[in-house]
Amino acid sequence: MAEHVDLIYLDYAASTPVDPWVVEAMTALMTADGNYANPSSTHVAGRQSVKFIAHAAGQLAALLNTDPSRLIWTSGATESDNLAILGGAHYRQKRGRHLITMRTEHKAVTDTFAELERQGYSITWLNPEPSGLLDMAKFEEALRDDTQLVSIMHINNETGVIQDIAQIGAICRDRDILFHVDAAQSVGKIPVDLSALPVDMMSMTAHKVYGPKGIGALYIADRAGVHVDPLLFGGGQQRKLRPGTLPAQQIVGFGTAAAIAQSRMLRDLEHLNAMRDRLWSGIQDIPGLSTNGAIGCAFPGILNVSIKDVEGESLLLALEPLCVATGSACNSKNQEPSYVLRALGTSDALAQSAIRFSFGRPTSARDIDIAVDRYRSSVARLRNLAPGGVA
C-alpha cells in the first residue's frame, strides 16, 4: 500500500490484492482498443465479449470440476447467498417451510434467514461444538419432514474451521433437501470438486482469491428440484435468474483468478501452512492464549486467537501497523463480541480479545516475525497497564 509502507497486511480473509495477471486481463476488456462491448449485443463486438465470458466461466468451472452452464454470475457472495437462500426457500415453499442453518454462518446467510423468519418460515439455528464443527447427530435430529433447505458454510471466515460438507450434503441428498454452501472462503483455496460433492448450491466471490471485488457466482446443480426464484428482474440475462449487463471485465477477472488459483493451490496451501505454523509457534506459549476454533479442523490461512485479561479494541490499536481483524470483516465496526465466537462457547471477555490473523500469497516470514513481536509486546504492555486485583 503505497501510502503506508510500514503496514503489515494480515487480513487476507477480508480481501486480497488482485493478481497482476488478473488486472491485465480485466484491462483488456475495458479499454477502447479492447473488448468493451455489451455482451448482450448481437454484433461482432458483442459476440467477442461473450467469448471472453464463456472462457472465464470455463476457468471457474474447471476449478470446481463442474459445467460452466451451472454458474450464475452475481455481484459477490452476499448476493449469491441471498439468491440461494431466499430464492431456494421461495421456490420450495409449497413443499415445506422449515430451514436449517448454523449460528456461525456469515451475516450474508444469517441475516437472510432472519428475513425468511420474518416471512413466516421456521428456522432451526444450530450451534457448533466447541471445535467449531457441526455435530452430525445433532444435525440429523434437527431435520424434519418439511425441511426444504440447509445452508452450512465451508470454511468459516472468522475461525477457518472447515465443515464436512460432503457428509452434510449426503444426509440432505438422502432426503431431497436443498443443500447450500457458502464457500466464499474456500473456493480457490482448498480443493472443491462439485462433480463429487453432494452440494446443490454454492456461493463464491472473487475478492477473497486475488480477483476483483464486486463479482461472485452461484453454482446451481443440475438436479431435479434444484432451482431458485430470481430476486432481480430485467433483460432476461442468465436464464432470467440474474439480469443486468454482464460485467465482462469482472467476470474475466474472476475466471483468471480461478485459473491461477487452480494452478498453484497446493503451493499456496503449503505456504499458508508454513506461515500459520510460524505465527502459532511464535505466540502459543503466551499465558492465557487460546485459539478460537480447533486448529486441527481449520484452514491454515486463518488463525484466530483470544487472550485472557487483554481488552480487544486496545489490543487492535496496539498491534498497528498490523492490519488484522477482530470479528468478521463485515461486522468489524461492531464493538460487540463476535456472535460467531460466542456460538463456539467463548466467553464475552475472551471473544472480545479475539484477533484474526489471515495469510496470503504475499505473506512473508518477515511479516510473521513482526506480527509475533508486535503481538507479544502489545499483550505485555496492555497487561502491564491494567490494574491488578479485580477479576
Binding site: 485479561d309 481488552e311 479494541e313 486496545s314 490499536l317 496496539a318 465496526k333 464493538q335 496492555l382 502491564n384 497497564l385 491494567a386 490494574p387 491488578g388 486485583g389 479485580v390
Partner: protein, 125 residues
C-alpha cells in the same frame, strides 16, 4: 465504513501513556464498571497532587482519557479534583458518544480518589 475512530490526540496518549503505573505509598482508588477497570494513585505534597498515575483496562479512549486526566491534574490542588468532569475530555479527545458510559467510570474513580485525598489533606483552618 468509518473514518479513523481515534483522533490524533488519542493515538498519541495511547501510544505513550507516561502516567501509566502505580505509585508506592500513595492514596488510590479503583473502580470496575461498564467493562472498564480504572485505578488511580496519587502522592500529595502540601495539598497539591505531586504525582498522579493510572492503570486501566479498557478501550483506547479510556486509556487515553486516563492519561490525559493524569497529565492535566498533576500539580494541581486536591480541591480542584472535585470539579473534574469528563465532558471536557470527551470533547478534547473526540470520544464517540456511545462510549460516554465508559468515560464516566473515570469520573467516578476520580471522585473516589478525591475523597481519599481529602481525608489525607491537612484540614484548612
Amino acid at each position: 465504513m468509518s473514518a479513523d475512530p481515534y483522533s490524533a490526540r488519542v493515538r498519541a496518549l495511547f501510544a505513550d501513556p507516561v502516567h501509566a503505573g502505580q505509585l508506592a505509598d500513595a492514596a488510590g482508588a479503583l473502580l470496575e464498571d461498564q467493562g472498564v477497570r480504572i485505578a488511580f494513585s496519587a502522592q500529595l505534597a502540601a495539598g497539591r497532587i505531586e504525582a498522579l498515575r493510572f492503570q486501566a483496562w479498557g478501550c483506547p479512549h479510556v486509556i487515553a482519557a486516563a492519561e490525559a486526566f493524569c497529565a492535566d491534574y498533576e500539580g494541581r490542588n486536591v480541591a480542584e479534583l472535585l470539579d473534574f468532569s469528563t465532558s471536557g475530555l470527551m470533547q478534547s479527545l473526540s470520544v464517540p458518544v456511545e462510549k460516554t458510559g465508559r468515560i464516566l467510570v473515570i469520573e467516578d474513580t476520580v471522585r473516589l480518589l478525591a475523597q481519599e485525598l481529602v481525608k489525607l489533606s491537612p484540614k484548612e483552618p
